[in-house]
């Protein structure tokens, strides 16, 4: 009897254990890859880029686009996202978001109100990137189709990562870093800008990916500077590189200096590191930024003799000087914008916590006027690529002989 009861009990358990409580199959989900957030009056306008599954997985593709976008407005981000269900065929699934884009106007008014939802919602992870649409609304960027990468969000994601790694004018910023630099007293946030090149209206059409040069493309080459939660200005490409050099965020970059009578010398700096030290002597805060790079010769378009150590030394110094200038420009721009994006204040608060408390309140003022920043740079040329002496020299000699 007991055995029978047990068997019946087990069978009943089986009916419950057959699946998850609130399981949702892949076919019931709309997988979001990018979010664009804009302001429309007092309300928040959200644009979501959703994967069109049949165009991304499967044997035969039709002429439909790989992604679709939906736009709606609401008083808060969450409200607008839920209102999207009136437009989308399925409920949005946010765990696969790769990038969140803020429109310029929205960023100028402050992005904090949407960050709370992003950090509170359980579907949101922390591994996506943030960017600002410069000169456009976020909606415009989210709507653009891109070649090579079928899903535009993936294109932006990998553009940001590869340009940070090989050229260094952009910075990949994730949620935890963004929030902590907004709340920290001695640091301001930066976010990468996204630009639209070409004709905006053609970008959302499938023809954009059907022609060899796309009509419209998305470019990222600079940083937006925040003061607290508000966007206050922009760093151009070089200033952004300076920023990355100061904050030790350069993985691999390129340096160019003029050489000889005419022409340029280009190096690939492949091992970069920056050490920042802060101290407060008396009442004046001091920061030393020490940048070191190891480089290879990459591209020489002038006629100089590279077999001599002297020449190498000379250009190492020139390159170091150039690096210093880039960093200085970046600092000047940050001072103009009154935003301590380098985290100098945070550095001082770690190295001299007691003295920092005294100057904490006036930090914005001190950063612009009194802070003394010393830049040091050291570039070492290690190898010359696969060749040694440039052949341009021989060509010019030949010309002279003729």
């Amino acid at each position: 009897m007991l055995k029978k009861l047990q068997a019946i009990g087990l069978c009943m358990v089986l009916t419950i254990l057959s699946g998850c409580w609130s399981s949702r199959e892949l076919t019931d989900m709309a997988i979001a890859t990018a979010l664009g957030i804009d302001k429309e009056g007092d309300r928040i306008k959200v644009t979501v880029q959703v994967i069109n599954p049949s165009e991304n997985a499967g044997q035969s593709f039709t002429s439909r686009t790989a992604v679709t976008t939906f736009t709606t407005t609401g008083d808060t981000l969450f409200e607008s996202l839920r209102r999207l269900t009136t437009l989308t065929p399925r409920k949005l699934y946010l765990s696969h978001i790769r990038i969140i884009i803020f429109g310029e106007e929205y960023a100028k008014q402050g992005i904090a109100d949407s960050l709370d939802f992003i950090s509170r919602d359980h579907e949101m992870r922390t591994d996506f990137h943030f960017a600002i649409a410069r000169g456009y609304g976020a909606q415009d960027i989210v709507n653009i189709l891109t070649p090579i990468e079928k899903i535009p969000a993936n294109k932006i994601f990998s553009t940001l990562e590869s340009s940070q790694d090989f050229w260094a004018p952009t910075k990949v910023v994730q949620l935890d870093e963004l929030i902590s630099s907004m709340t920290s007293k001695g640091k301001e946030a930066v976010l990468t800008e996204l630009l639209i090149l070409g004709d905006l209206n053609k970008g959302s059409n499938i023809e954009n990916v059907q022609s060899v040069p796309s009509y419209t493309s998305i470019k990222s080459s600079g940083l937006g500077v925040f003061h607290n939660e508000k966007l206050v200005g922009w760093l151009d490409e070089n200033e952004s590189r300076g920023f990355n050099m100061i904050t030790d965020n350069v993985h691999d970059t390129v340096g160019v200096v003029p050489c000889g009578n005419k022409g340029n010398l280009t190096i690939e700096a492949y091992k970069n590191s920056t050490e920042m030290k802060g101290s407060i002597r008396g009442d004046t805060p001091n920061i030393t930024v020490n940048f070191t790079a190891e480089a290879n010769l990459a591209d020489i378009s002038c006629t100089i003799d590279f077999t001599k150590q002297k020449t190498i030394k000379k250009y190492e110094e020139k390159l170091a000087e150039e690096a210093k200038n880039v960093m200085k420009d970046s600092l000047e721009k940050a001072r103009d914008l009154e935003a301590d994006i380098f985290g100098f204040g945070e550095l001082l608060s770690k190295s001299n916590p007691k003295k920092w408390k005294k100057i904490e309140e006036e930090w914005a003022n001190i950063f612009v006027n009194d802070l003394n920043v010393d830049f040091k740079a050291d570039v070492n040329i290690r190898r010359t690529g696969t060749t040694t002496q440039p052949f341009l020299d021989n060509i010019s000699k030949k010309k002279q002989e003729e």
Binding site: W21, S119, H122, T126, D176, I179, L347, K350, S351
Partner: protein, 374 residues
């Protein structure tokens, strides 16, 4: 004796490690960092040292009589009726702790993993599994512990290794300059879970087959558990920063979400959840077991099995009614639990030892007098 099983010292160590980690592992960075900020790791370090002192105290209690569990000790030391009275209060304490653990796993699951599932279902599934364990007895619980311990242990260690490349040392600088008061003030609430709750092991310690290694393994268990708590707190501070650790309800899980680097090793935060499921399962089971053991002593029953089934359902109710919402629950953990648990985890053992000393001295004196007479 109601429990006839015997466990060995290694099994006891594993139970203690599981108990120390359960509940704490996922919440400790948040509770400590909210007051101590960048010094939270120091708080955890100091707390675990005090934790070892608590183990010393508990071992002293056990010394009164090696063969008696805590409920028998109550009656042995305080006499039958006072002892039974104290047993009632002690059981109430264990009951609330077990309900609290059940609530915690429910809250975690409904926040992060199974959002739409009712909390009652999750609690029911957990408590039924524990009930099965309790019915099978201490020996089975301990052997299950041996099986699951490696999973829990290694998934935590793996997580710590995987997030280590993202650690930034500047997150915990300056060390002990700001928030120093916070670092010391947080020690007390942190002691509440798990160190004050370790007192329930006094009900299990007598069943360890050899008493000397049993005591040693108590230290080792708390040591290993504390070390992991410390490592996870430190990593959470180094990787997420004190501010982000404090703001998240379950920072350890967020830490798991940060694992990425090698491309295929992404989205494995469930590692953390698995480690936590196992540890908290044993925490609930041990509390539940001690609860039903105590009940049997209280009512002079011959086995622990009779009352365990109704208790299981009461535990769910206790968990649900403990707090109306997460904020109230967190406040309960931060402010009320430590003094409550401390009463039973520190004060009661002290009183036990003191009373035992006083009465034993009297007995010895009596004996001597008797000897003289003869």
């Amino acid at each position: 004796m109601i429990e006839k099983g015997k466990i060995d010292a290694r099994q006891f160590t594993i139970l203690v490690v599981m108990y120390t980690l359960g509940t704490s592992i996922i919440a400790i960075p948040s509770t400590t960092a909210s007051y101590a900020q960048e010094n939270a790791w120091i708080t955890v370090l100091l707390t675990s040292l005090i934790g070892l002192l608590i183990v010393f105290l508990l071992n002293q209690v056990n010394k009164i009589n090696h063969h008696k569990n805590i409920f028998e000790l109550f009656e042995y030391v305080f006499g039958k009726w006072v002892g039974k009275g104290i047993t009632v209060f002690f059981l109430l304490f264990v009951f609330i702790v077990a309900g609290k653990n059940l609530r915690q796993i429910g809250d975690f699951m409904t926040t992060h993993v199974l959002v739409e599932t009712p909390i009652q279902v999750i609690m029911l599934i957990f408590v039924l599994t524990s009930l099965y364990g309790v019915k099978l007895g201490l020996e089975v619980i301990s052997r299950t512990g041996e099986i699951f311990f490696p999973y829990a242990f290694f998934s935590l260690v793996l997580m710590i290794i995987f997030v280590a490349p993202q650690a930034e040392f500047k997150n915990i600088q300056p060390i002990m300059v700001n928030n120093t008061e916070g670092a010391f003030l947080t020690i007390f609430p942190t002691l509440g879970t798990p160190y004050f709750e370790l007192v329930v092991f006094l009900a299990i310690l007598p069943y360890v087959n050899r008493i000397g290694p049993g005591k040693k393994s108590f230290y080792i268990g708390v040591g290993i558990g504390s070390l992991l708590l410390f490592a996870v707190t430190l990593m959470s501070l180094l990787v997420l920063g004190p501010d982000f650790s404090a703001r998240n309800v379950y920072p350890t899980y967020i830490l798991g979400k940060k694992i990425s680097g090698v491309q295929f090793l992404e989205r494995i935060e469930i590692l953390v959840a698995i480690a936590w499921f196992f540890t908290i399962f044993f925490k609930i089971t041990i509390n539940f077991y001690v609860l039903s053991l105590g009940m049997s002593h209280l009512f002079n029953l011959k086995t622990t099995k009779v009352l365990s089934t109704p208790l299981a359902f009461l535990l769910i109710i206790a968990g649900l009614y403990l707090a109306p919402n997460l904020i109230a629950y967190q406040n309960f953990l931060a402010h009320d639990l430590a003094p409550f648990a401390g009463t039973f985890g520190i004060l009661l053992p002290f009183i036990l030892i003191l009373t035992a000393r006083l009465r034993k001295i009297n007995k010895k004196k009596k004996k001597r007098r008797k000897n003289k007479r003869f």
